[in-house]
C-alpha cells in the first residue's frame, strides 16, 4: 500500500515511482485466467499466427500492459484519489520473459469543477527504451487543506 499523494505536493514534470515487470508464461496464463482472454498467442509458442508474424516466442497481452499502467496510476492516486480516465495505445509488442518498465510523469495540474486534477503521461518501455504502450491518465487528488 502506497502513501497517499496530495495535490499540494504534486509538481509538473514529477516522475511517478517506476517499476519493472518481466512476465513469464505462468504470469501470462494467470492473466488469461483473470481477464478471460485465452488467445494462444500468449502461451503457445507454436501458435500458427506467431509464425505468420515471424515471431518465435509468445507476445505479452496488450491488456496486461494496460493493467500495469493501471497499477502505476492507481498507486499514484492512492485510496483517497480518483482515477477519472486512463488510456493507452499498443504501439509495440513485448515478448514473454523480457523486462517491461512501467513509468509515468505529471504533465499538468489544475483545479476544475471543484476537483484537483492531475494529468499524466504514462507508458510501458521495453529494454531498448522504446515506448511500447504510450498513454495518458487523469486523476483527481485530495488536498491537505
Amino acid at each position: 500500500m502506497a502513501e497517499q499523494t496530495y495535490f499540494d505536493d504534486v509538481k509538473e514534470g514529477q516522475e511517478l515511482p517506476e517499476f519493472t515487470i518481466q512476465p513469464d508464461k505462468q504470469q501470462l496464463v494467470k492473466f488469461a485466467a483473470g481477464s478471460g482472454d485465452f488467445n494462444p498467442l500468449h502461451f503457445d509458442e507454436k501458435f500458427p499466427m506467431l509464425k505468420g508474424m515471424g515471431i518465435a516466442d509468445n507476445i505479452v497481452h496488450g491488456r496486461f500492459k494496460y493493467a500495469q499502467v493501471g497499477r502505476i496510476v492507481f498507486a499514484f492516486a492512492g485510496y483517497k484519489g480518483r482515477v477519472k480516465k486512463f488510456g493507452v495505445s499498443y504501439r509495440g509488442m513485448d515478448l514473454i520473459n523480457t523486462p517491461i518498465k512501467v513509468k509515468g510523469v505529471v504533465t499538468a495540474k489544475k483545479q476544475e469543477g471543484g476537483e484537483n486534477i492531475v494529468e499524466l503521461d504514462v507508458w510501458t518501455e521495453d529494454a531498448d527504451g522504446k515506448k511500447t504502450t504510450p498513454g495518458t491518465a487523469v486523476v483527481a487528488l485530495p488536498s491537505k487543506g
Binding site: K25, Q26, V29, D44
Partner: protein
Amino acid sequence: MSQVFFEDVAEGLEIPELKKNCSTQQLVLWAAGSGDFYQIHYDKDFAQGTGLPGLIVHGALKHAFLGQLVHDWMGPKGELRKFGCSYRGMDYPNEDIRCRGVVTKKYTENGKNFVELDIWTENPAGKKTSPGTATVALPSKN
C-alpha cells in the same frame, strides 16, 4: 437433455462415450477454472525440465471429464453421489481421450435406486489412463 430411468439400466450397459481432445488452450482454460497453475501443463520447456516428454493433461481435468460423462448420461433428475478415478497413465494435448463408462451394479436401498459404474479415460492405444468408479441415484418410472 433426456432422462434415463432406473428401469432402463442393466448391468453391462455401456453409457454414451464422451470424446475429448485437449488443445493447449483447453489446458490453460483448465488452469483458470481449477486454479492449478503448475507449468507442466502449458510450458513445454518447464515440462521437459522435469523429465516429462512434453506437456501433459492435468489428472484433475480427466477426473472432471469423467464427471461430465456421468452428468450428461444421468439426466436432469439423476443425482451424482460419488465419482473418482486414479491416475495410471499420462495423456497428451492434441490426442484423443475417450471417456467411457459401463454399469456394474444396480440396487435399491432406503427407497433410492442406485447404479454403480466403472468409468475411465482411454488413450489412443486403448490403455485406461484414469480408471475409476461412480455411483448415481436414478429416478424410477413408477
